[in-house]
Amino acid sequence: MADNPYKDLKISKGAVVEPRTTLVNKTGSWRSERPVIDHEKCVACGNCEKFCPDMAVKETENGKFEIDLDYCKGCGICAEECPVKAIIMEKEEK
């Protein structure tokens, strides 16, 4: 961990933890390939969202399915399960 966001956090009784706090951990940095959605081809079936183990595909306000690259680990399930091949995996430029 480069920067410890909890260095001043007091230990809670019994090490009880607040909910939904992993959101600070941006797992997008794990990725070696990123999914890119071709919205022309997309039929908005929602498979990509349904099968994402990282809650990194969201239907945004404009009704489009988009990838939250903060959390996407690049597993490639969305591309594989897309029935119209609207998602391709592109190498991350590092």
Binding site: P19, D68, I77, A79
Partner: protein
Amino acid sequence: MTEDRFKHDEDLFCSGHRACPGCGAALTSKLVTEATGPQTILSMPTGCMEVTTTPYPESAWGISWIHNIFENSAAVAGGIETAYKSFSKRGKEGYTDKDDVNFVVLAGDGATFDIGIRSLSGMMERGHDVLYICYDNEAYMNTGIQRSGSTPMGAATTTTPAGKQSLGEDIRKKDMPSIAAAHGLEYVATASVAYPEDFKRKVKKALEIEGPKYIQIFAPCPRGWRHESKNTIKIARLAVETGLYPVFEMENGRITNTMKVKDRKPVEEYLKVQGRFKHLFKKEGGDEIIDYLQEVADVNAEKIGF
């Protein structure tokens, strides 16, 4: 910063967990919370999902969640449920009525088939109002892919490696759904991460039933099964399509519903995409294991009827 257009604040299982890319158990966790909703208390044993979702002081969970030790999550859930039963009966203030709370266990196969079977059996016997869900990835993944009672014949794990004298696991997979059903459960089901809607329907259905329920969901592990992370769903689907992992519902000991498989595929199609089985295609005697697994699939098809 997360861009505003991505809303995570309603997720009950949140991004940022440390499960591997393509993790079937993480997908299961998401689906479980989608089906149960927020009025849920989840008990989880030690395992991959526990360590990847709750490194202090972080938690991926938006629901009430507890981990105690490896082999007691069913008893812990039974204790929680009993506490709520007492609170409701005694009219204790400040507590949600027991009937409005889902008591759920989500456990791996090691915690379910092996080390936690006493706790599970006792919970089912006593009739606690608990839904026990096992995510089945067929080995102890958290400790580094050691065989469990759920590991299928022929699979190479770190304690059943293929070698000069070995074709991988030499013990057949334990039949946990039948063991659960033998406890007189009103509802037992199997599911697969390849069919999320089917699984969520089963979770919801189970939660309507008072008493103990058991659901076992097939959840591939890319790291442990040595397959590409993108193939998690494909492999889960193949397990069903070959007949190796039948998806069914069992009510009061009788199968009442099965996922039908048209034109059952040969088991090789499922085996060949996973590194844990690759020795079966190279080593002498491997074909006999493949034949055995084909027979398992054939018997499943006949017995369960799909």
